[in-house]
Amino acid sequence: MLARLEGVGKKYQTGDQTIVALQATDLELRAQELLLIIGPSGSGKTTLLSLIGCVIYPSFGELYVDGHHVNRMRANELAQLRLRTVGFVFQQFNLLAPLTAAENVAVPLKLQGLPGATIRKRVDEALEMVGMTDRRKNLPKQLSGGQQQRIAIARALVSDPKIILCDEPTGSLDKDSFGVVMTELRQLAKDGKSVAVVTHDPRLAAYADRAVEVKNGYVNHVEIEALKS
């Protein structure tokens, strides 16, 4: 079990109004599994992803990630946990514009303070894994959307995290890139990672092992076969 949510929810205070973005949720993330989180815009799926990714604290309930009780951790400890345990893939890729592809991939390793030789070796491996070795010196603006997303996946993988969280990873991609990226994510799950993908695109069901639907802040399990059909 890589992540466990026990009655976890999130609410925000806006003036006098309390908005519940995510109702009390029980959910588990397992290794070797690609979990699909589907639902319409504003339903709370990104909030769920942010909670699993230790980017925000739960307002209520107990959250455990890689054996750590997130509720009790301080912000800096949470950052360390994200750095070592979670890899993020964003819809807009979020590559750092001033850095080359290889430098972008190296960022998590530099943040961990690893030695230069180790960083170079692991960056080479990660770029090779996503087939982008020949683009290592390109800036993000010199890459296509699909290529940028593969660099983003290499960055998410390079520190060998147990959990990979993807926020609409195919939202900005064309049909060809869509297939390449999803095949890579599927392979990562097979290799032992726990991959969670937020999307409103039902085509992704073909790559998933399990799915949950988020609606108005409520999380419900859905049959994957039903989604495929």
Binding site: S50, A79, L83, R84, F90, N94, A97, E103, V107, L111
Partner: protein, 371 residues
Amino acid sequence: MLKDAFKFMWFDKAKMFGILFGMVLSVFLVGQQVMIALALLGSTVSLATYNQQYIWVVSPKSTQVTDLPSLDMRIARELQSVEGVAAVHPLIFSGGTLKFPDGKKYQLSLIGTEAPTFAGGPWNVRAGNPMDMLSAGGLFLDQANTEYGSRVRIGDYVEFNGQKMRIVGRTDHTEGLGVPYAFTSIEKARSLTNFPVTEASAFLVEWDTSYQIPQVVDAINRVIPNVRATSGPEFRSSSLAYYATSSGIVASFGLLVVFAIITGFSIVGLTMYSAVSDRIKDYGTLKAIGATNGKIRRLILFQSSMYAVSGFAIAYGLLVFFIRATQGSLQLELTAWLSYTLVGVTLMIALLGSLFGMRKITKLEPAAVFR
């Protein structure tokens, strides 16, 4: 991290040059204004600065080194009798008009000193022997004076207060606040300025080295009425303090320095803030990936340090160029303490300027990257 910080800077060249411009402008202006203020203040007390090896005995009414109401010459004999006094040298400080053969006239302060020691001047002698001042009409003039310095040639004749004088020596940067100094023998100075033989402007006292200076100073002040004796360094300091408080030099230049710092701080701070705002998505991504606030602050600090180092280097180079360009007119000096102060000012501008950006990033929630 340093390389990444540089890449963040280099990526937005317009902002990088904007920040550097603010830094250089501010540091250069601070250095330039402080140097000019110090040069002006230094010139006001140059007579005291170059004669700090004596105890100065002046009228109690004297406010500073160029304000020297006359003293009775008999005081010289009284001073000789004070315990610890080794020698007494009278000095004449007066004014007059220097006239070149082409008819051009200049206002000067004339300093008359006594042979053979010539205590009180000339100093910074570049050519000639002070003993030649004893020859008929021997005069030392400042070769660095912007108006007539180039015409100061030994052997040439000029007029001082209508009397024919011969240039026998050249000095370098011997001037008060806007008024150049000329030197001659004390006898000739009396004759040129109608200064009574029974009076002197000040007495420069040498002391017996077996005595401490404060002892001799106290003895003079105790024994001789209506004079004020002070050590050379003390007289210089009190003269400097007088000019600093009464002339407005410190106030006006100080205000310019403050404005220069505020201007630099504003340009650097706002441009850095804007640079951080432009890259807020990148910083948010770093936070989401797992960078702590401390690590991102370090990234910003690396950038501001690089701005500080390069900004200081450029500003320092410009200051050295400015000193060379104004060598003839101003005696500017980039002293060690001023250099250290400028390093401090640069670091302060860089660090304070980066605070706005750091504050914005510290407040940034990593979850913002998903919105």
